[in-house]
Symmetry: C2
Subunit: 389 residues, 2 copies
């Protein structure tokens, strides 16, 4: 009961104007830096030039890998590892959102593996070494900046697998809320849905837990509900961006789970959706979450929803617990679909029943859904998918 190891060693520079520390931090690990990034938005925003200037100023040698995909592919991991081996890279610098950081973590690990990086995702390799990772975050969502995991897609097999190893924990992360000013309203909404889901995966749990961590989770949820709409309306609201950014890290860096070991629910289901349909992860989660909540609500689980409804939405504790629970699901759906304006059905985003069975089977098998909040079978997952139609 509540036995766990807490080990979050990432050093975080939070706030504006901290990039002056980039050179000194990179230098601690060597002189040859591979900078990884995505489709080039960092060039448009001017961040690329600033980063390169800091690297040059520190006298470091710069290599680059661009074009990392929004759902990062194993081909990018292999390409990055190839550069690291050939150029004897000392340290990786990921500049971007969760996709870039996730991909970079596996590049760091694959550098010490002879063969296809996919072997790592398939669990064939026990990752014991990884190049040190420094990152500059440009999107608040996945929390990859402060955890040891990542998710990689394989378009050939249509697999999307998440894994984590201690050695992949970033050494240093730069979290500057102003770098997220340019994140679109839609991506802000998707990122917020992702963060919420990270917390829900832990909060909705029937294992023995620490009250203290419940209060932290409720605070994080309230923070997201309070500030996501503010950031969508006024993208340059520092307070909103700062709260969302720091909340994104703490939603998934390991602090809030405090020894709980249940399998996650919505994430494994969503990974199957985006593996096949290449949708935005947070959008898939937003569609699934209220349906999953509804499907799992019963006399055994109702106490958790009751606590959620009272402490997060301020519902009247004297109401019947089942009433509070149902109302809390309704309010969650309203937040996702009305306040954040996200689409609420599969049909709106081009997903039909074709792959329900195969996706459900993989979600249960790969995600271990039999050990989730409410244990789910393949049939359960198909039912939840049908509720999303």
């Amino acid at each position: 009961m509540n036995q766990f190891v807490y080990n979050i060693s990432t050093k975080v520079y939070f706030g504006e104007n901290q990039l002056g520390h980039l050179g000194e931090e990179l230098k601690k690990f060597g002189t040859r830096v591979l900078m990884t990034y995505g489709g080039g938005s960092i060039k448009k925003s001017g961040l690329y030039d600033k980063v390169v200037a800091e690297i040059k100023k520190a006298g470091l040698e710069l290599f680059e890998l661009s074009g990392i995909e929004p759902n990062p592919r194993v081909s990018s991991v292999n390409a990055g590892a190839e550069i690291c081996k050939k150029e004897k890279i000392d340290v990786l610098l990921a500049v971007g959102g969760g996709s870039v950081i996730d991909c970079t973590k596996f590049i760091g690990a694959a550098t010490f593996h002879d063969g296809d990086a996919w072997d790592i995702l398939e669990g064939k390799v026990d990752v014991k070494k990884c190049l040190p990772i420094v990152d500059i975050l440009t999107l608040a969502a996945t929390g990859s900046e402060m955890d040891n995991g990542g998710v990689i897609s394989n378009p050939k097999t249509k697999d999307k697998i998440g894994m984590g190893f201690d050695v992949m924990q970033p050494k240093v992360s730069f979290l500057d809320p102003t770098l997220t000013y340019s994140v679109s309203s839609y991506q802000t909404a998707c990122g917020s849905a992702d963060m919420l889901s990270h917390i829900f995966e832990v909060y909705f749990n029937m294992e023995k837990d620490l009250y203290m961590l419940d209060t932290v989770m409720e605070g994080l949820i309230k923070t997201i509900i309070k500030y996501a709409p503010v950031a969508m309306k006024n993208p340059e609201d520092y307070e909103a961006r700062a709260n969302l950014m720091w909340a994104s890290s703490w939603a998934i860096n390991g602090f809030i789970d405090g020894g709980k070991c249940q399998a996650w629910s919505c994430h494994p289901m969503e990974h199957e959706l985006s593996a096949i349909y290449d949708i935005t992860h947070g959008l898939g989660l937003a569609i699934l979450t209220p349906r999953w909540m509804e499907y799992c609500l019963d006399d055994t689980t109702v106490s958790r929803y009751y606590q959620f409804g009272c402490n997060v939405f301020g519902l009247d504790p004297s109401m019947e617990p089942m009433q509070v629970a149902k109302k809390s699901i309704k309010l969650t759906a309203e937040f996702l679909y009305q306040t954040l304006g996200l689409k609420s059905t599969f049909s709106e985003i081009g997903i039909d029943e074709t792959n329900f069975e195969v996706m459900a089977e993989k979600a249960v098998r790969i995600g271990g859904l039999k050990d989730a909040f409410k244990p789910l079978t393949k049939e359960d997952v198909v039912n939840i998918f049908k509720m999303c139609k």
Copy 2:
């Protein structure tokens, strides 16, 4: 605004039956271990034997320093550093509460200093090196297990000074709530008052802050208010001890302040009390806190008390802010003096006006109280002391 560096690298083993990891963790730093502890309660409880057995099992060489005082003295620091130099110690193992860990941190630093350890406390030495520190916590209070600071007393000068250096951050902490089962009701109360004060020192602040961290602080305060009386009544309530223990670490490990840089208020005042009268730190804080709250309440600061009263004590937000503020101070005092049963006046613990002036002068000078929540002069501090008579 909200620019800060987050860097909490301590690895924590939380929960029962984790001591099996002690040997492997110590070994990472070498083979010669200096174990430090206090007055011998760890021998009575059987913990001493268990720790020694783990050290022997790991094949490590054990040295010992016992008798570290409740308000640890610089003489103990010097004695420990002497052993470290002479015996070429590789790693320090502190077994005890905050006093033992605090003292051990400065032993680790003083090992690399030629001369009196008091030089470090006087700010004459920039501490760049420290022996690695592992600890086993036996009292939830000071948070020393997860921060880089400590407080040392000098009976000759009647000084008590707190300082912190990054290199003194413990590498590994073992937090087993069952080790606090034997903590007396009185010490549980004092420890809880200390934790509350750590949070109040940050929470009562007029600097720009992150809402997210406010929710965390309010959750920590509620955790302590909920579980301190439970642990006092039933010392072997695991849930209560676990919540208090983890809250004690997070109250002061640096997470909650998020870039605020105001000076603390009650701690500098209390350090002067316990430097002269050798009282329990938490008790001194408990007497000071409600008077300080009352003294600092005005039209500028009332908003903070209002938030506190509504979010922590659930007071009606439609009440006048000043009413909520006053009620929140009353409830805080009731919690400390009635629920925790702590003494509420100086006269009850043998402190009279004799040293008010000299203590106030030092608190303002050493503690930098002009930069506190409400800036305090020597006269202000004397006034607060008088309110405690």
